[in-house]
Symmetry: C2
Subunit: 215 residues, 2 copies
Protein backbone atom coordinates (compact mmCIF):
# COMPACT_ATOMS: atom_id res chain seq x y z
CA UNK A 1 0.00 0.00 0.00
CA UNK A 2 1.68 3.13 -1.26
CA UNK A 3 1.59 6.03 1.22
CA UNK A 4 2.83 9.45 0.07
CA UNK A 5 3.58 12.00 2.79
CA UNK A 6 4.03 15.53 1.51
CA UNK A 7 6.92 17.64 2.77
CA UNK A 8 7.45 21.36 2.13
CA UNK A 9 9.44 24.25 3.56
CA UNK A 10 7.99 25.36 6.88
CA UNK A 11 5.95 22.27 7.73
CA UNK A 12 5.32 21.27 11.35
CA UNK A 13 7.29 18.07 11.82
CA UNK A 14 4.91 16.26 14.18
CA UNK A 15 2.02 16.71 11.70
CA UNK A 16 3.88 14.39 9.35
CA UNK A 17 5.78 12.19 11.80
CA UNK A 18 2.84 11.27 14.05
CA UNK A 19 0.86 9.57 11.26
CA UNK A 20 4.05 8.26 9.63
CA UNK A 21 4.96 6.40 12.83
CA UNK A 22 1.56 4.67 12.78
CA UNK A 23 0.92 4.13 9.07
CA UNK A 24 4.45 2.91 8.30
CA UNK A 25 3.67 -0.05 10.61
CA UNK A 26 0.76 -1.21 8.43
CA UNK A 27 1.73 -4.69 7.21
CA UNK A 28 1.73 -3.62 3.55
CA UNK A 29 2.97 -0.04 3.95
CA UNK A 30 5.37 1.52 1.49
CA UNK A 31 5.91 5.06 2.76
CA UNK A 32 7.48 7.73 0.57
CA UNK A 33 8.18 11.32 1.53
CA UNK A 34 7.43 13.48 -1.50
CA UNK A 35 7.82 17.15 -2.41
CA UNK A 36 7.43 19.44 -5.38
CA UNK A 37 11.24 19.59 -5.46
CA UNK A 38 12.90 16.65 -3.69
CA UNK A 39 15.57 17.40 -1.11
CA UNK A 40 15.77 18.78 2.41
CA UNK A 41 12.80 20.72 3.77
CA UNK A 42 13.25 22.76 6.93
CA UNK A 43 10.50 22.84 9.52
CA UNK A 44 8.52 25.91 10.64
CA UNK A 45 11.15 26.93 13.20
CA UNK A 46 14.10 26.16 10.85
CA UNK A 47 15.76 23.95 13.49
CA UNK A 48 15.26 20.63 11.68
CA UNK A 49 15.41 19.39 8.11
CA UNK A 50 13.53 16.35 6.81
CA UNK A 51 14.43 14.82 3.47
CA UNK A 52 11.89 14.38 0.69
CA UNK A 53 13.39 11.51 -1.29
CA UNK A 54 10.87 11.67 -4.10
CA UNK A 55 9.28 14.14 -6.51
CA UNK A 56 5.49 14.36 -6.73
CA UNK A 57 5.57 12.92 -10.23
CA UNK A 58 7.31 9.77 -8.94
CA UNK A 59 4.13 8.95 -7.03
CA UNK A 60 1.11 9.98 -9.08
CA UNK A 61 -1.28 7.40 -7.58
CA UNK A 62 -0.61 6.68 -3.89
CA UNK A 63 -3.27 4.75 -1.99
CA UNK A 64 -2.92 7.20 0.90
CA UNK A 65 -2.06 10.88 0.48
CA UNK A 66 -1.08 12.75 3.65
CA UNK A 67 -0.75 16.54 3.76
CA UNK A 68 0.74 17.99 6.96
CA UNK A 69 0.29 21.58 8.15
CA UNK A 70 2.62 24.22 9.47
CA UNK A 71 3.47 27.83 8.81
CA UNK A 72 4.70 26.93 5.32
CA UNK A 73 1.13 26.01 4.40
CA UNK A 74 0.62 29.64 3.38
CA UNK A 75 3.12 29.25 0.54
CA UNK A 76 1.19 26.27 -0.79
CA UNK A 77 -2.22 27.87 -1.24
CA UNK A 78 -1.82 28.99 -4.85
CA UNK A 79 -2.75 26.67 -7.65
CA UNK A 80 0.16 24.99 -9.43
CA UNK A 81 2.00 21.69 -9.61
CA UNK A 82 1.19 20.68 -6.01
CA UNK A 83 -2.54 21.30 -6.33
CA UNK A 84 -2.58 19.51 -9.67
CA UNK A 85 -0.83 16.51 -8.11
CA UNK A 86 -3.29 16.52 -5.20
CA UNK A 87 -6.30 16.59 -7.53
CA UNK A 88 -4.91 13.78 -9.72
CA UNK A 89 -3.82 11.67 -6.74
CA UNK A 90 -7.20 12.16 -5.09
CA UNK A 91 -8.98 10.74 -8.14
CA UNK A 92 -7.45 7.31 -7.52
CA UNK A 93 -6.51 7.42 -3.82
CA UNK A 94 -8.17 5.17 -1.29
CA UNK A 95 -7.72 7.83 1.40
CA UNK A 96 -6.82 11.50 1.07
CA UNK A 97 -5.77 12.86 4.46
CA UNK A 98 -4.43 15.91 6.24
CA UNK A 99 -3.25 17.04 9.65
CA UNK A 100 -3.63 20.56 11.07
CA UNK A 101 -3.53 23.31 8.41
CA UNK A 102 -2.79 20.68 5.78
CA UNK A 103 -6.58 20.74 5.29
CA UNK A 104 -6.31 24.36 4.11
CA UNK A 105 -4.07 23.13 1.29
CA UNK A 106 -6.54 20.36 0.40
CA UNK A 107 -9.31 22.95 0.42
CA UNK A 108 -7.33 25.41 -1.71
CA UNK A 109 -6.79 22.62 -4.23
CA UNK A 110 -10.58 22.29 -4.42
CA UNK A 111 -10.89 18.92 -2.69
CA UNK A 112 -13.00 19.93 0.30
CA UNK A 113 -15.84 21.83 -1.40
CA UNK A 114 -18.92 21.10 0.71
CA UNK A 115 -17.09 18.39 2.67
CA UNK A 116 -17.03 18.07 6.45
CA UNK A 117 -13.45 18.60 7.56
CA UNK A 118 -11.30 19.76 10.45
CA UNK A 119 -8.04 21.61 11.02
CA UNK A 120 -6.11 23.28 13.82
CA UNK A 121 -8.73 24.95 16.05
CA UNK A 122 -7.31 28.35 15.06
CA UNK A 123 -7.77 27.57 11.36
CA UNK A 124 -11.40 26.40 11.34
CA UNK A 125 -12.75 29.77 10.17
CA UNK A 126 -10.25 29.87 7.32
CA UNK A 127 -11.29 26.33 6.41
CA UNK A 128 -14.89 27.48 6.16
CA UNK A 129 -13.95 30.41 3.93
CA UNK A 130 -12.33 27.89 1.58
CA UNK A 131 -15.60 26.03 1.05
CA UNK A 132 -15.44 23.19 3.56
CA UNK A 133 -17.89 22.57 6.39
CA UNK A 134 -15.62 23.00 9.43
CA UNK A 135 -15.97 20.63 12.36
CA UNK A 136 -14.19 20.86 15.69
CA UNK A 137 -13.97 17.08 16.04
CA UNK A 138 -10.46 15.68 16.37
CA UNK A 139 -10.76 13.36 13.37
CA UNK A 140 -13.32 13.86 10.61
CA UNK A 141 -14.10 11.26 7.95
CA UNK A 142 -16.15 12.37 4.94
CA UNK A 143 -16.12 9.72 2.27
CA UNK A 144 -12.47 9.01 1.56
CA UNK A 145 -11.27 12.32 2.96
CA UNK A 146 -9.91 12.10 6.50
CA UNK A 147 -8.81 15.31 8.20
CA UNK A 148 -7.28 15.72 11.64
CA UNK A 149 -7.18 18.68 14.01
CA UNK A 150 -3.96 20.37 15.22
CA UNK A 151 -0.44 18.89 15.15
CA UNK A 152 -0.61 15.93 17.57
CA UNK A 153 -4.04 14.76 16.34
CA UNK A 154 -2.46 13.00 13.37
CA UNK A 155 -1.60 10.08 15.67
CA UNK A 156 -5.27 9.54 16.54
CA UNK A 157 -6.26 10.00 12.89
CA UNK A 158 -3.72 7.44 11.71
CA UNK A 159 -4.82 4.87 14.29
CA UNK A 160 -8.47 5.33 13.28
CA UNK A 161 -7.47 4.99 9.63
CA UNK A 162 -5.40 1.89 10.40
CA UNK A 163 -8.46 0.27 11.96
CA UNK A 164 -10.46 0.97 8.80
CA UNK A 165 -7.71 -0.39 6.55
CA UNK A 166 -6.42 -3.38 8.49
CA UNK A 167 -8.89 -3.97 11.31
CA UNK A 168 -9.02 -3.19 15.01
CA UNK A 169 -6.49 -5.85 16.01
CA UNK A 170 -3.76 -4.40 13.80
CA UNK A 171 -4.54 -0.89 15.05
CA UNK A 172 -4.33 -2.07 18.66
CA UNK A 173 -1.00 -3.82 17.98
CA UNK A 174 0.45 -0.63 16.45
CA UNK A 175 -0.87 1.47 19.34
CA UNK A 176 0.88 -0.90 21.75
CA UNK A 177 4.09 -0.91 19.70
CA UNK A 178 4.34 2.89 19.91
CA UNK A 179 3.10 2.72 23.53
CA UNK A 180 0.41 5.28 22.83
CA UNK A 181 -1.14 5.44 26.27
CA UNK A 182 -1.27 9.21 26.53
CA UNK A 183 -0.97 10.84 29.95
CA UNK A 184 -0.81 14.58 29.29
CA UNK A 185 0.05 16.42 32.50
CA UNK A 186 -2.74 18.96 31.94
CA UNK A 187 -6.23 18.95 30.49
CA UNK A 188 -5.42 21.86 28.21
CA UNK A 189 -5.10 20.42 24.72
CA UNK A 190 -8.32 21.84 23.34
CA UNK A 191 -9.88 25.32 23.42
CA UNK A 192 -12.78 23.66 25.26
CA UNK A 193 -10.56 22.58 28.15
CA UNK A 194 -7.67 25.08 28.29
CA UNK A 195 -7.95 28.17 30.49
CA UNK A 196 -9.73 30.99 28.65
CA UNK A 197 -6.72 33.30 29.03
CA UNK A 198 -4.47 30.71 27.37
CA UNK A 199 -6.90 30.31 24.49
CA UNK A 200 -7.16 34.08 23.98
CA UNK A 201 -3.38 34.63 24.16
CA UNK A 202 -2.79 32.03 21.47
CA UNK A 203 -5.63 33.36 19.34
CA UNK A 204 -4.14 36.88 19.48
CA UNK A 205 -0.74 35.83 18.25
CA UNK A 206 -1.65 33.28 15.58
CA UNK A 207 -3.28 33.76 12.24
CA UNK A 208 -3.37 31.23 9.41
CA UNK A 209 -3.57 32.92 6.04
CA UNK A 210 -5.94 31.48 3.49
CA UNK A 211 -5.87 34.56 1.25
CA UNK A 212 -3.60 33.19 -1.46
CA UNK A 213 -6.31 30.74 -2.44
CA UNK A 214 -8.99 33.41 -2.45
CA UNK A 215 -6.97 35.77 -4.66
CA UNK B 1 18.29 27.36 26.60
CA UNK B 2 20.33 25.03 24.44
CA UNK B 3 18.60 21.74 23.63
CA UNK B 4 20.57 19.01 21.85
CA UNK B 5 18.56 16.19 20.28
CA UNK B 6 20.64 13.19 19.24
CA UNK B 7 20.10 11.59 15.85
CA UNK B 8 21.60 8.32 14.65
CA UNK B 9 21.03 5.73 11.95
CA UNK B 10 17.97 3.64 12.75
CA UNK B 11 16.29 5.93 15.26
CA UNK B 12 12.51 5.98 15.65
CA UNK B 13 11.44 9.38 14.34
CA UNK B 14 8.58 10.05 16.76
CA UNK B 15 10.89 9.48 19.76
CA UNK B 16 12.77 12.61 18.72
CA UNK B 17 10.01 14.62 17.04
CA UNK B 18 7.42 14.36 19.82
CA UNK B 19 9.59 16.10 22.44
CA UNK B 20 11.10 18.42 19.80
CA UNK B 21 7.63 19.72 18.93
CA UNK B 22 7.05 20.59 22.59
CA UNK B 23 10.49 21.74 23.77
CA UNK B 24 11.19 23.87 20.68
CA UNK B 25 8.23 26.02 21.79
CA UNK B 26 9.88 26.92 25.11
CA UNK B 27 10.33 30.70 25.04
CA UNK B 28 14.13 30.45 25.23
CA UNK B 29 14.64 27.25 23.24
CA UNK B 30 17.55 26.83 20.87
CA UNK B 31 17.17 23.33 19.47
CA UNK B 32 20.01 21.61 17.63
CA UNK B 33 19.94 18.15 16.10
CA UNK B 34 23.33 16.56 16.73
CA UNK B 35 25.08 13.35 15.70
CA UNK B 36 28.46 11.69 15.95
CA UNK B 37 28.83 12.45 12.22
CA UNK B 38 26.56 15.25 11.02
CA UNK B 39 24.40 14.61 7.97
CA UNK B 40 21.32 12.61 7.07
CA UNK B 41 20.24 9.80 9.37
CA UNK B 42 17.67 7.30 8.16
CA UNK B 43 15.00 6.05 10.50
CA UNK B 44 14.48 2.45 11.67
CA UNK B 45 12.40 1.55 8.58
CA UNK B 46 14.71 3.45 6.17
CA UNK B 47 11.76 5.38 4.71
CA UNK B 48 12.72 8.80 6.09
CA UNK B 49 15.90 10.78 6.62
CA UNK B 50 16.33 13.50 9.23
CA UNK B 51 19.30 15.85 9.07
CA UNK B 52 21.73 16.27 11.96
CA UNK B 53 23.10 19.76 11.33
CA UNK B 54 25.69 19.61 14.07
CA UNK B 55 28.47 17.40 15.38
CA UNK B 56 28.48 16.36 19.03
CA UNK B 57 31.55 18.49 19.67
CA UNK B 58 29.70 21.62 18.50
CA UNK B 59 27.44 21.26 21.54
CA UNK B 60 29.47 20.02 24.50
CA UNK B 61 27.25 21.61 27.17
CA UNK B 62 23.56 21.68 26.24
CA UNK B 63 21.08 22.50 28.99
CA UNK B 64 18.87 19.64 27.80
CA UNK B 65 20.15 16.43 26.25
CA UNK B 66 17.58 14.23 24.54
CA UNK B 67 18.36 10.67 23.41
CA UNK B 68 15.69 8.96 21.29
CA UNK B 69 15.33 5.21 20.85
CA UNK B 70 14.81 2.95 17.88
CA UNK B 71 16.33 -0.15 16.39
CA UNK B 72 19.59 1.73 15.79
CA UNK B 73 20.05 1.97 19.55
CA UNK B 74 21.83 -1.38 19.41
CA UNK B 75 24.66 0.16 17.38
CA UNK B 76 25.14 2.83 20.04
CA UNK B 77 25.72 0.63 23.07
CA UNK B 78 29.51 0.39 22.86
CA UNK B 79 31.64 2.98 24.61
CA UNK B 80 33.16 5.60 22.33
CA UNK B 81 32.70 9.20 21.24
CA UNK B 82 28.93 9.22 21.82
CA UNK B 83 29.13 7.85 25.36
CA UNK B 84 31.96 10.23 26.15
CA UNK B 85 29.88 13.15 24.90
CA UNK B 86 26.90 11.97 26.95
CA UNK B 87 28.96 11.70 30.13
CA UNK B 88 30.53 15.15 29.62
CA UNK B 89 27.24 16.79 28.65
CA UNK B 90 25.52 15.20 31.65
CA UNK B 91 28.05 16.79 34.01
CA UNK B 92 26.75 20.26 33.17
CA UNK B 93 23.25 19.62 31.80
CA UNK B 94 20.16 20.83 33.58
CA UNK B 95 18.19 17.84 32.29
CA UNK B 96 19.40 14.62 30.67
CA UNK B 97 16.51 12.88 28.97
CA UNK B 98 15.57 9.91 26.82
CA UNK B 99 12.60 8.39 25.05
CA UNK B 100 12.00 4.66 24.53
CA UNK B 101 15.22 2.64 24.15
CA UNK B 102 17.22 5.86 24.31
CA UNK B 103 17.44 5.03 28.02
CA UNK B 104 19.43 1.89 27.15
CA UNK B 105 22.04 4.16 25.56
CA UNK B 106 22.11 6.42 28.64
CA UNK B 107 22.48 3.31 30.79
CA UNK B 108 25.25 1.89 28.61
CA UNK B 109 27.10 5.19 28.97
CA UNK B 110 26.95 4.68 32.72
CA UNK B 111 24.49 7.44 33.54
CA UNK B 112 21.67 5.37 35.02
CA UNK B 113 23.56 3.26 37.58
CA UNK B 114 21.12 2.80 40.47
CA UNK B 115 18.73 5.39 39.03
CA UNK B 116 15.00 4.94 38.59
CA UNK B 117 14.29 5.02 34.87
CA UNK B 118 11.89 3.79 32.21
CA UNK B 119 11.99 2.66 28.58
CA UNK B 120 9.78 0.93 26.02
CA UNK B 121 7.82 -1.72 27.96
CA UNK B 122 9.65 -4.41 25.99
CA UNK B 123 13.04 -3.01 27.05
CA UNK B 124 12.53 -2.73 30.81
CA UNK B 125 14.35 -5.99 31.55
CA UNK B 126 17.30 -4.92 29.44
CA UNK B 127 17.32 -1.60 31.30
CA UNK B 128 17.56 -3.47 34.59
CA UNK B 129 20.48 -5.59 33.33
CA UNK B 130 22.29 -2.31 32.57
CA UNK B 131 22.16 -1.19 36.19
CA UNK B 132 19.07 1.03 36.32
CA UNK B 133 16.01 0.46 38.50
CA UNK B 134 13.34 -0.05 35.85
CA UNK B 135 9.92 1.49 36.34
CA UNK B 136 6.86 0.99 34.17
CA UNK B 137 5.68 4.55 34.71
CA UNK B 138 5.28 6.63 31.54
CA UNK B 139 7.62 9.38 32.68
CA UNK B 140 10.26 8.90 35.38
CA UNK B 141 12.19 11.76 36.99
CA UNK B 142 15.23 10.85 39.10
CA UNK B 143 17.21 13.95 39.93
CA UNK B 144 17.98 15.59 36.63
CA UNK B 145 17.46 12.44 34.61
CA UNK B 146 14.06 12.21 32.92
CA UNK B 147 13.23 9.06 30.98
CA UNK B 148 10.08 8.31 29.00
CA UNK B 149 8.46 5.01 28.01
CA UNK B 150 7.91 3.91 24.39
CA UNK B 151 7.88 6.12 21.29
CA UNK B 152 4.84 8.40 21.80
CA UNK B 153 5.53 8.98 25.51
CA UNK B 154 8.11 11.63 24.69
CA UNK B 155 5.27 14.12 24.19
CA UNK B 156 4.05 13.62 27.76
CA UNK B 157 7.62 13.70 29.06
CA UNK B 158 8.37 16.97 27.27
CA UNK B 159 5.20 18.63 28.57
CA UNK B 160 6.04 17.56 32.12
CA UNK B 161 9.56 18.88 31.66
CA UNK B 162 8.25 22.14 30.20
CA UNK B 163 6.15 22.65 33.33
CA UNK B 164 9.25 22.19 35.51
CA UNK B 165 11.31 24.58 33.39
CA UNK B 166 8.83 27.31 32.53
CA UNK B 167 5.78 26.71 34.71
CA UNK B 168 2.36 25.17 34.24
CA UNK B 169 0.94 28.07 32.21
CA UNK B 170 3.61 27.79 29.53
CA UNK B 171 3.16 24.01 29.40
CA UNK B 172 -0.61 24.43 29.02
CA UNK B 173 -0.12 26.98 26.22
CA UNK B 174 2.19 24.62 24.33
CA UNK B 175 -0.21 21.73 24.85
CA UNK B 176 -2.98 23.87 23.36
CA UNK B 177 -0.76 25.04 20.48
CA UNK B 178 -0.09 21.45 19.43
CA UNK B 179 -3.71 20.57 20.24
CA UNK B 180 -2.64 17.66 22.40
CA UNK B 181 -6.05 16.43 23.46
CA UNK B 182 -5.44 12.76 22.77
CA UNK B 183 -8.36 10.57 21.74
CA UNK B 184 -6.85 7.19 20.88
CA UNK B 185 -9.50 4.97 19.29
CA UNK B 186 -8.56 2.04 21.54
CA UNK B 187 -7.40 1.53 25.11
CA UNK B 188 -4.46 -0.58 23.96
CA UNK B 189 -1.37 1.61 24.38
CA UNK B 190 0.08 -0.20 27.37
CA UNK B 191 0.68 -3.88 28.15
CA UNK B 192 -1.70 -3.36 31.09
CA UNK B 193 -4.59 -2.42 28.81
CA UNK B 194 -3.95 -4.16 25.47
CA UNK B 195 -5.40 -7.64 24.84
CA UNK B 196 -3.08 -10.35 26.19
CA UNK B 197 -2.72 -11.93 22.74
CA UNK B 198 -1.54 -8.60 21.29
CA UNK B 199 1.00 -8.18 24.08
CA UNK B 200 2.32 -11.70 23.60
CA UNK B 201 2.54 -11.41 19.81
CA UNK B 202 4.59 -8.21 20.09
CA UNK B 203 6.77 -9.71 22.82
CA UNK B 204 7.54 -12.74 20.65
CA UNK B 205 8.74 -10.70 17.68
CA UNK B 206 10.67 -7.92 19.42
CA UNK B 207 13.94 -8.06 21.27
CA UNK B 208 16.08 -5.07 22.24
CA UNK B 209 19.73 -6.02 22.45
CA UNK B 210 21.72 -4.68 25.36
CA UNK B 211 24.60 -7.13 24.91
CA UNK B 212 27.05 -4.73 23.29
CA UNK B 213 27.28 -2.83 26.57
CA UNK B 214 27.72 -5.98 28.59
CA UNK B 215 30.53 -7.30 26.41
Amino acid sequence: MEIAILLYEGLTALDAIGPYEVLSRLPSAEVSFVAESPGTKRTDNHRLALVADHALEDHPHPAIVLVPGGRGQEENMRDGALHEWLRTAHETSTWTTSVCTGSLILAAAGLLEGKRATSHWLALEALGRLGAQPSSERVVVDGKIVTAAGVSSGIDMALALTAKIAGDDVARAIQLAIEYDPQPPFDAGSPRTAPAATVEALRRRTRFKDSAAAS
